[in-house]
């Protein structure tokens, strides 16, 4: 029983990290084909927004996190209006532009907040099971990541907005001819992506050291998960994150962290080699 729970906890912990790291990137890349190299900095903004509102404005943690997400949305909105909207249909240019944005943002954080900022204490307590003790907050993170995925699934695949968004992505000209406000759909989708990245930063902020490079800790996991998820991230994200976290946790528990990371990256290479369109490609093929 304890063994089962322990296995579930470790797997769930790795899974939620991959899912939350990737989700904002997946929305922006999957829906808009913008490769957002500033994804890590969106997470940084969410984290700093949370910590600063909790420390300086003395807000309770959930409200501070909400603030963190709001600030990230505002940043995403401004960015989309000024820069990103000129880059639709130019994925390679978007790489260069967002990379520049990421440098500017991380250096600005360094200048404004200095190399380190006092962090928050992880909320909730811990509980004991046999020889092991667990953080309740991290258990909550697993639940939150699954809830977010369900909400997104409903939003993009079942709601009216989702239909408009997918139509816009599929063929902007025709969607526009049918009366869809393409511009608005893009802006909203980008803001949703920003909000998700900000949320990741906000909920991980109490568990990590607050430094201007905090978002960089997520970036490799994020890209790796999105790449293995494939062209349609909503279908591919869960199987990709599940597979990768299974690989990582089983190898890490058998050997150690370095080999675990190697196993994760190696399985990514295998997937790209044998499933070039990722897990979503595989699932679509199976459906047919």
């Amino acid at each position: 029983m304890i063994f089962l729970f322990n296995t579930f906890y470790q797997f769930g912990d790795a899974l939620s990290f991959l899912l939350l790291a990737a989700i904002g990137l997946a929305v922006i890349f999957g829906m808009m084909k913008i490769i957002n190299l500033a994804h890590g900095e969106f997470i940084t903004i969410g984290a700093y927004g949370t910590v600063v509102s909790a420390k300086i404005l003395k807000l309770p943690l959930p409200i501070a996190m909400f603030f963190g997400v709001l600030i990230t949305i505002a940043f995403g909105y401004v960015l989309e209006r000024i820069i990103i909207r000129h880059l639709y249909g130019r994925p390679l240019d978007s790489v260069v532009a967002t990379w520049g944005i990421s440098l500017i943002v991380s250096q600005s954080f360094l200048v404004i907040f200095g190399p380190s900022f006092e962090g928050l204490q992880t909320p909730l307590s811990n509980f004991q099971l046999g020889a092991y003790s667990y953080s309740q907050y991290r258990l909550l993170l697993i639940i939150i990541s699954i809830l977010i995925l369900i909400l997104l699934y409903i939003l993009f695949l079942k709601s009216n907005f989702g239909t408009l968004a997918r139509a816009t992505i599929e063929n902007p000209q025709i969607a526009s001819a049918l009366g869809v406000k393409v511009d608005k759909v893009y802006t909203i989708t980008f803001c949703i992506g920003s909000a998700l990245a900000g949320l990741t930063g906000a909920i991980y902020a109490p568990t990590m050291t607050i430094v201007p490079s905090i978002g960089q800790a997520f970036i490799v996991s994020a890209f790796v998960t999105v790449v293995t998820a494939g062209a349609s991230p909503f279908i591919g994200l869960i199987p990709a994150a599940t597979f990768l976290s299974l690989m990582q946790t089983s190898v890490t528990s058998y050997y150690h962290a370095t080999i675990g990371i190697l196993a994760l990256l190696f399985s990514v290479i295998l997937i790209i080699r044998f499933l070039p369109s990722g897990f979503s490609g595989l699932l679509t093929r199976l459906k047919k």
Partner: protein
């Protein structure tokens, strides 16, 4: 032709020799990371160099010459270190170089220093083992930080030890030291994990530690990402006493992190600014109080005065004492003077340079971090020698060497 050469020689003598020697400053090159990854721990160190130079100049300098700092910001970047080391040697023609925080940056410039025969002070705690004719070390080494800490922890908490360490030369070599000391003291290593610098999530590591049930956890973690371990182990309720050589004394994590993330962490340091708050009277109290007072007078906003600032301060003073003794800034003469067992009475007492290995002796303070992140000092070891290199066969007074050794790869006898 000969006449021409003689003439130009005469001209050169008139031009350069004309300046009286006493008017020339002694140039101290400083390479430290004012920005970048390591800046938190390094900025107080830079201020300590400046303070030492100001104090010495206020007393008239040495040999009638003033000291002058030539400083470059190495930005926590090893290629910058190499670039600026060359610049200090070739363009600025400094008399001595001080600096470097990480072992990687020290190893990046050591070959350049050795090629030029430059005199170099490394003023940082590190994994030990540098036996180099041109290099002097004022920071603490494993025989000072681990030979004290590990047996003390084992006696107090038990003989089962688990090490987690950053996966690069510092972590690997330090872990090797811990392993050897645990064995020598009749303990067992119940686990050892090397963690890449990029890792920021530690749930699995924490579970592995709990499964192994150690009495003592050695945390040799480095960098901002790995520092997330402390908050995560506290929230998981790990509650195993932690011991390390790197935290508190360098980047003052006990001031920067929210309590109680570092509760029950033990660190061995050769100085921290709380020494005189905790030790209420005696030599250590007076010296630390005096040092902090002078430091704060110059830099009132300094967030923390760490052990590397004491090491930097000592380094400049040791160099100046050696120059006075040698009666010259000639590098060979100064090195010989430094090899006479020269010592300086600094912020935490006397630091004496071991002639064989060029490393300094230290008084070592055991620091315990409390629940509210206030520090206690349960134990002080006086005058701990950097004995390992000398005992293993490094003797720079007899034979030049330019290598770094480890316990598993000692000098050839």
């Amino acid at each position: 032709m000969i006449k021409k050469i003689l003439l130009s020689f005469l001209f050169a003598v008139l031009l350069f020799g004309g300046n009286t020697v006493s008017a020339q400053t002694i140039k101290l090159g400083i390479l430290e990371d004012q920005t970048g990854n390591f800046a938190i721990a390094v900025v107080p160190k830079i201020h300590a160099y400046e303070m030492a130079v100001k104090e010495i100049n206020a007393k008239g300098g040495v040999l009638g010459r003033k000291l002058e700092i030539v400083r470059y910001d190495t930005q926590s970047d090893n290629t910058r270190f190499q670039e600026f080391a060359r610049r200090l040697i070739e363009k600025d023609k400094v008399d001595v170089i001080f600096g470097a925080f990480s072992s990687a940056s020290r190893e990046a410039i050591r070959p350049i220093i050795d090629k030029a025969g430059m005199l170099y002070f490394y003023n940082n705690q590190y994994e030990g083992g540098v036996c180099d004719a041109n290099v002097f070390v004022t920071g603490a080494v494993p025989e000072q930080q681990f030979s004290t800490l590990v047996p003390w922890m084992m006696e107090k908490y038990g003989k089962k030890v688990y090490t987690i360490a950053a996966d690069y030369n510092f972590g690997q070599i330090s872990a090797e030291w811990v392993r050897n000391i645990v064995k020598q003291n009749g303990g067992t290593m119940v686990g050892e994990e090397f963690i890449p610098l990029d890792v920021s999530q530690f749930s699995q590591t924490i579970k592995k530690i709990q499964a192994a049930k150690p009495d003592v956890l050695m945390t040799l973690l480095v960098g901002a990402k790995q520092a997330s371990f402390y908050e995560q182990q506290a929230s998981a309720g790990l509650k195993i006493p932690m011991a390390t050589s790197v935290n508190v004394g360098q980047a003052y994590e006990h001031k920067r992190f929210k309590p109680p993330a570092l509760e029950n962490m033990f660190v061995t340091v050769n100085y921290i600014e709380e020494v005189h708050d905790v030790i209420k009277s005696g030599e250590f109290h007076d010296k630390s109080k005096d040092f902090v007072k002078r430091f704060r007078a110059l830099y009132p906003k300094e967030p923390y005065i760490n052990m590397e600032s004491a090491n930097a301060y000592n380094a400049i003073n040791l160099y100046v004492k050696a120059v006075a003794k040698a009666g010259s800034t000639d590098k060979v003469k100064v090195r010989k003077a430094l090899e006479t067992g020269i010592s300086f009475d600094g912020p935490s007492g006397v630091v004496k340079i071991d002639p064989k290995s060029h490393h300094g002796s230290h008084n070592i303070f055991l620091v315990r971090v409390g629940k509210d992140h206030k520090v206690e000092i349960p134990k002080v070891w006086k005058d701990i020698q950097p004995y390992w290199l000398g005992q293993s066969g490094c003797d720079l007074t007899k034979k030049d060497d330019f290598s770094q050794y480890t316990p598993s790869k000692p000098p050839k006898k």
